[in-house]
């Protein structure tokens, strides 16, 4: 029996083995192919060691003292930047960079200039532009995962600066700024407004260079105000009376602003300072339950409820600006850099009808929020020098003049004084004058000076939303006390 069955068994085994041979062979080939991936190139510069840094700087942005234009940064500039070094734009030819940025008033106009950068340097730039909130999530997620692909990130120093630097994600620019071979001779670092340059210098490190001098202004429909015979209010408490005159819903709402949890504190901060409040006390305790703070929250919420369009609590700045652009709102108290959007002939129905007044004085003072942002180099990037080339290229006088002309107020003094700058001043005198005036009187940023800015700002944002939804009086005070407690916890966790 076995003699007859044996060949059958062998036959069967051979077929299965044949299959196994092929399968094993293929697997080995695949494994070998997978192992043959190219090895990543070594890093060109080490990431900065995240050392225990001191508490955030106490001031935000000292205003430029000049009366006509931002004061040049006399002491900040490295000597090398003014001298002639053998700077070579083509040095990093063939490199490619990835820039995770915002879709904001500086980045949008600069996008069209990218081919000029690529032609000049031979560096390929891949610029991803996202809304702020999405950008923050993406950048933090990728950098937490130690992703080396990102070379450049866009930051608002007083939101992300300390947090990102302490996380070891930002490569300070000091080393390159002070190296004559890394700065083109005509760059002129002294030209930057001192206050703005200092705003980008945190924990003793230059984290970025300022691309914009943003200030909170009272932005209003000149034509409507004139038609009703009303002037922009000089005093904040007179604002509701002025808004009453131009408020005729549903075709025209008197006021619009940012309402979302993540963003409402930005414009509200100017109201807070005007009522004499602040995010923190001098000894760095949360202070949003103070009388001044509660009054400012109540005032902001009342204005939003009474004069704002429906859906205020879900409105971020792009939606708020869209309300102005589409001729549905008469006033917004927000950034001077909205000029480009409001005077954009393709997108705005109110071109030439917008006025730019000073943010009204409050019962206690007038310190409208100021702000800047800029491009930083990722400490994890393996192409830091090429990344620096983009920063230095994008901040040349001609490109600062270009973005300034498109409503993004420059941080370079020479741009304001240049013939193009003078033309802008002639065309938008109130915009230029009130921007400069605000930069002189204010040294306060939009955000609290803490490590985890967004977390604290969102806690305050929730409180503002509650007020916008009708919480008032003692109930609002109780909520504010809870917010103070929440901020204390956040600071304890994130600042030790």
């Amino acid at each position: 029996m076995s003699e007859h069955r044996e060949p059958t068994v062998v036959q069967k085994n051979l077929t299965r083995r044949g299959f196994l041979k092929v399968a094993t062979g293929s697997s080995v080939a695949l494994l070998l192919a997978a192992c043959a991936q190219p090895v990543a190139a070594p890093t060109t510069a080490p990431a900065p060691k995240a050392t225990e840094a001191p508490k955030p700087a106490a001031t935000t942005a000292p205003a430029p003292a000049a009366t006509q234009a931002p004061k040049p940064a006399a002491t900040q500039a490295p000597a090398a930047s003014t001298g002639a070094g053998d700077f070579d734009w083509k040095k990093y030819k063939g490199t490619s960079l990835r820039y995770v940025g915002w879709n904001d008033n500086w980045s949008q106009p600069m996008t069209s200039k990218v081919p000029e950068f690529e032609d000049l340097t031979g560096i390929k730039l891949n610029w991803e532009q996202l809304a702020q909130d999405q950008n923050r999530q993406k950048v933090q997620t990728e950098l937490t995962a130690k992703n080396k692909d990102i070379d450049l990130i866009y930051i608002a120093p007083h939101v992300e600066g300390i947090k990102y630097y302490k996380a070891g994600w930002i490569f300070p620019l000091d080393e390159y700024m002070n190296n004559p071979k890394m700065v083109p001779p005509d760059f002129d670092m002294k030209d930057f407004a001192e206050g703005m340059l200092k705003t980008c210098n945190m924990l003793g490190k230059q984290l970025t260079l300022p691309v914009v001098s943003e200030a909170c202004l009272f932005i209003y429909r000149k034509d409507l105000f004139e038609a009703k015979g009303v002037k922009p209010p000089e005093n904040l408490l007179d604002m509701p009376a002025a808004l009453d005159k131009v408020h005729s819903p549903p075709s025209m709402y008197g006021w619009v602003g940012r309402g979302t949890v993540t963003q409402n504190a930005v414009p509200w901060s100017s109201y807070l300072y005007a009522f004499g409040g602040d995010y923190l006390t001098k000894d760095r305790k949360p202070d949003v339950a103070s009388d001044a703070s509660l009054k400012s929250i109540q005032f902001y919420a009342d204005v939003a409820r009474k004069y704002g369009p429906p859906g205020m609590t879900t409105m971020n700045w792009p939606e708020a600006v869209a309300q102005m652009q589409s001729n549905r709102a008469a006033v917004i108290t927000d950034a001077n850099s909205f000029r480009n959007a409001l005077d954009d002939k393709e997108k705005s129905q109110v071109v030439g009808k917008v006025g730019w007044a000073m943010f009204p004085k409050g019962p206690v003072g007038n310190t409208p929020g100021i702000w800047t942002a800029g491009t930083s180099i990722s400490a994890l990037s393996e192409k830091k020098e090429a990344a620096w080339y983009f920063i230095i290229w994008s901040l040349q006088k001609k490109y600062q003049t270009y973005t300034h002309g498109r409503g993004c107020p420059s941080s370079r003094t020479s741009v304001w004084n240049s013939p193009e700058g003078q033309d802008i001043r002639k065309q938008w005198p109130d915009w230029a004058d009130n921007t400069l005036k605000t930069l002189q009187i204010s040294n306060k940023g939009y955000s609290p000076e803490v490590v985890s800015v967004m977390e604290v700002r969102n806690a305050v944002g929730e409180l503002i939303v509650k007020a916008m939804q009708g919480v008032t009086g003692d109930a609002l005070k109780a909520e504010a006390e809870k917010t103070n407690k929440a901020i204390t916890d956040i600071m304890a966790k994130t600042e030790g």
């Binding site: 076995s2 085994n13 083995r17 196994l20 990102y164 302490k166 549903p250 993540t262 609590t313 977390e455």
Partner: protein, 309 residues
């Protein structure tokens, strides 16, 4: 016998290749499923175990400090102190209950309607399934436009019948129902599809004999169709509850959990904790709590179904 054994001995001693093949042959039952099992361990078991491990650490991913073991402190904080988390649980349950109950009721009604031999019922069925096939994120964006208080079509339609405009996604009381409507619009077809399959398995005899006995349509539905359909309804409810409890995309796109935290469900809370504030340990504890909730509800439903069978 000795004649028969010789060729086998020769085969075994032929070389190392044969030894390997013989090994594979003998252990095929372990080796063939191995890649799938390894993959499952890598993508399911390891992340789950790591999540449990992380939930017992306190770690800010944006800080250079190493994670610290804190035992069950994160859970104690979550359930003991964190009002935002407790609120998010109730919101999740409210959203799920509202969406799933209505999906089941509407889904059943449509299934009963489509179960009849209507003219063109195949075309109607196909068209009806379209919302289920659409990408949730794209649909959520369309719904945001429709809900827009000033430009949206919903308020326009309401204005035609004299109803004042509503702040759908900005109103504390309306935001969860408004989000539930989107879920209902998108997933009722799924419920209908399951119930149609269930209806097809119901025998005709009981219905016919009831008709002969003079039962009304309502009595037939209540006393015959629904009891026979109950196992399918429980399965549909199970699928939808699990899915709705962990809804993320639609809510994130439409409200990001706002206004304030009014639509922040557990998943949104976990996302914010993990990817906006980078409190990874705490977020792991939140996501474990969501998994526990899903398991609990599923357990109850599965037990319910077993009892019926």
């Amino acid at each position: 016998m000795s004649v028969a054994e010789k060729p086998v001995a020769a085969q075994v001693s032929r070389g190392p290749t044969d030894a390997v093949l013989s090994f594979i042959d003998r252990h095929a039952q372990w080796l063939f499923p191995a890649p799938a099992v390894i993959m499952l361990l890598l993508v399911m078991v390891f992340p789950s175990l790591y999540n449990i491990y992380m939930s017992m650490q306190t770690w800010f991913a944006t800080s250079t400090a190493e994670p610290q073991f804190v035992g069950l402190q994160n859970f104690a904080d979550l359930f003991g102190k964190d009002e935002n988390f407790r609120d998010s649980i109730w919101r999740t349950i409210y959203f799920t209950a509202l969406a799933v109950v209505l999906e089941l009721v509407i889904g059943l009604a449509i299934a009963l309607l489509l179960n009849r031999e209507l003219k063109g019922h195949k075309v109607i069925r196909t068209l009806f399934m379209l919302p289920m096939m659409a990408t949730p994120t794209a649909m959520a964006l369309i719904w945001v436009l429709m809900y827009n208080p000033t430009l949206g079509v919903l308020n326009y339609l309401l204005s035609l019948i004299g109803v004042p405009p509503q702040e759908w996604l900005s109103n504390l009381a309306l935001v969860i129902p408004a989000l539930a409507v989107v879920d209902i619009w998108q997933y009722t077809p799924f419920v209908t599809l399951l119930l149609l399959a269930g209806l097809a398995t119901i025998p005709v005899e009981p219905v016919e004999s009831a008709k002969i006995d003079g039962a009304s349509a309502w009595q037939i539905l209540w006393h015959i169709t629904l009891p026979l359909l109950r196992p399918t309804i429980v399965v549909a409810a199970l699928f939808r509850i699990i899915d709705t409890l962990k809804t993320f995309d639609t809510i994130y796109v439409m409200t990001q959990g706002g206004p304030g935290r009014a639509s922040q469900t557990i998943n949104l809370f976990a996302f914010q904790t993990a990817f906006e504030y980078f409190h990874i340990g705490y977020a792991a504890a939140v996501s474990l709590s969501l998994i526990a909730l899903v398991f609990m509800v599923s357990g109850v439903l599965i037990r319910l179904r077993r009892q019926e069978l």
